[in-house]
């Protein structure tokens, strides 16, 4: 049987014909912002890489106090190319979160969250939050000095939330302090809970993207201008493949040349080492918490900072409803807010590194 025959058998047995027809008919508008369409599929590429390398690491990783750092040490020093798999997983997380951020900012500035894509925006924002949570839970798993200290700081932050704060911290830690129970919890969250959540939300997100189609630039939509377009299959998919190849090459190059090391084993009884910092995508939040004074009137500065951050998160989540007419004044305010937000995040991150 020929390759075409085998493919035809699968299409027939699994009823894939409507999907293939849809892909042939799907149109991708061509304009100045088409480049941003590619960020969505690049995230999928990094997600697949994370799953593959994550499974390989999980074959040898032991989520216990005694075994965690020793198993990572074994992966790095004994298993063939183990250090490279770990490096791809570590850098892949950075690439994935960076691409999700770029994708979100592109949607923000092109106002693609407008009606009827409100839920697509909300699910996309949830995917960013889950991706960052992936990074946060994964950071503790090597159980080294830096990851332990950073997790202690990170899990202490929710304590400032009114009513549920102390409970959230206790739930995350599995007790009053970060211990072996925290490690087990973070491992389960990292390899089980967040993957399930991300797959569920991702499915909704992708279905909505297919349902509504690619968004047009705001100006073209207002002027009802007919833009040129290309078929999704094969014209757009082939272009995406070219970008995937380049991204894959860059990721593998960085993973080979700048593989992460493993810091000394964490000691629960020793004080935090100097210069503890979270991953780069949490730096601006970390610095925001640091610049607030210890006390602000009747409440702590940390409480005020956490409430402000939570308000910002809620506002971003409900952005399509705060800016229902992006072509008007509110749209301009949202654009300026986005620019200010990016500048703030960059400045705070650099300040935190100094």
């Amino acid at each position: 049987m020929s390759a075409r025959g085998i493919l035809g058998w699968f299409v027939d047995r699994f009823g894939l014909k409507p999907i293939l027809d849809y892909m042939h008919k799907k149109e991708v508008p061509q304009h100045h912002h088409t480049i941003w369409y590619y960020t969505g599929s690049s995230i999928l590429l990094f997600l697949v890489l994370q799953i593959v390398t994550g499974i390989l690491l999980a074959l040898y990783y032991k989520p216990t106090l005694e075994g965690a750092t020793a198993s990572v040490e074994r992966i790095m020093t004994e298993l063939p190319l183990g250090w490279l798999v770990r490096s791809i997983h570590s850098w892949g997380a950075t690439f994935m979160i960076a691409t999700v951020m770029v994708h979100l900012l592109a949607i923000w500035f092109t106002k693609s969250y407008r009606k009827p894509r409100e839920v697509t925006w909300m699910t996309g924002f949830l995917l960013l939050v889950f991706s960052m949570m992936f990074g946060f839970t994964g950071y503790l798993l090597p159980w080294d000095d830096l990851s332990l200290a950073a997790t202690k700081v990170g899990t202490n932050i929710p304590r400032a939330i009114p009513v549920v704060g102390a409970w959230v911290t206790q739930f995350l830690r599995g007790g009053d302090d970060v211990t072996g129970d925290t490690l087990t919890r973070f491992f389960i969250l990292h390899v089980c809970v967040f993957p399930l959540l991300i797959f569920a939300v991702l499915a909704v997100h992708i279905i909505l993207v297919q349902k509504e189609g690619m968004s047009l630039p705001l100006k073209a939509e207002i002027e009802k201008k007919k833009l040129p377009w290309l078929p999704f299959w094969p014209n757009f998919v082939l272009r995406e493949t070219m970008i995937w190849l380049v991204l894959l090459g860059v990721l593998l190059s960085i993973s080979i040349l700048f593989a992460p090391s493993l810091a000394p084993t964490a000691d629960l009884m020793s004080p935090a080492p100097e210069g503890v910092k979270p991953e780069w995508y949490f730096l601006f939040l970390f610095q925001t918490l640091k610049i607030f004074p210890a006390n602000m009137g009747p409440v702590t500065g940390e409480f005020v900072a956490v409430v402000l951050i939570l308000l910002a998160v809620v506002a971003i989540f409900f952005l399509p409803f705060l800016d229902p007419k992006p072509q008007g004044r509110s749209g301009k305010i949202v654009t300026y807010a986005g620019i200010l937000g990016v500048i703030y995040a960059v400045v705070m991150s650099i300040w935190s590194l100094l």
Partner: protein, 140 residues
Amino acid sequence: MNARRALIIVTALVLALAPPAAPAGPQAAPAAADRPAVAAKPDAAAQAAAAPAAKPAVTKKPAANKVPVKRTEEILPAFQTPKEKTAVIVFYVWLWLSIGVLLYFLRWWVQEADRVFRARFYEPAESPRKDNPMPPLLGE
């Protein structure tokens, strides 16, 4: 209830439920910049330091807190054998060569697919797609 009243009530509730500020003076909470280091100091250490004076009884530690043999030096990623080093270098060169060759063929394939699309090769005569103002080909 109007919005202003609701806002006042919500603010009052949030302030009432907020954790209280630490007292002023020498025992005041540390500066925000120092907080991570202080927060990182385990409470168990302070308790262990105070425990012998107050109660010399042996406290039973939970099994989860058993500390393994501590490794104090950093482990740097490195090739384990010269064979592995050669394999990675060969792989790296092969990777970029393959990407270069694949990009060349993909570019050619994209141009061909665009040309077929522009010629409306697969479109029936009455297709609504005929109104598409054709985009330029890749590289045009």
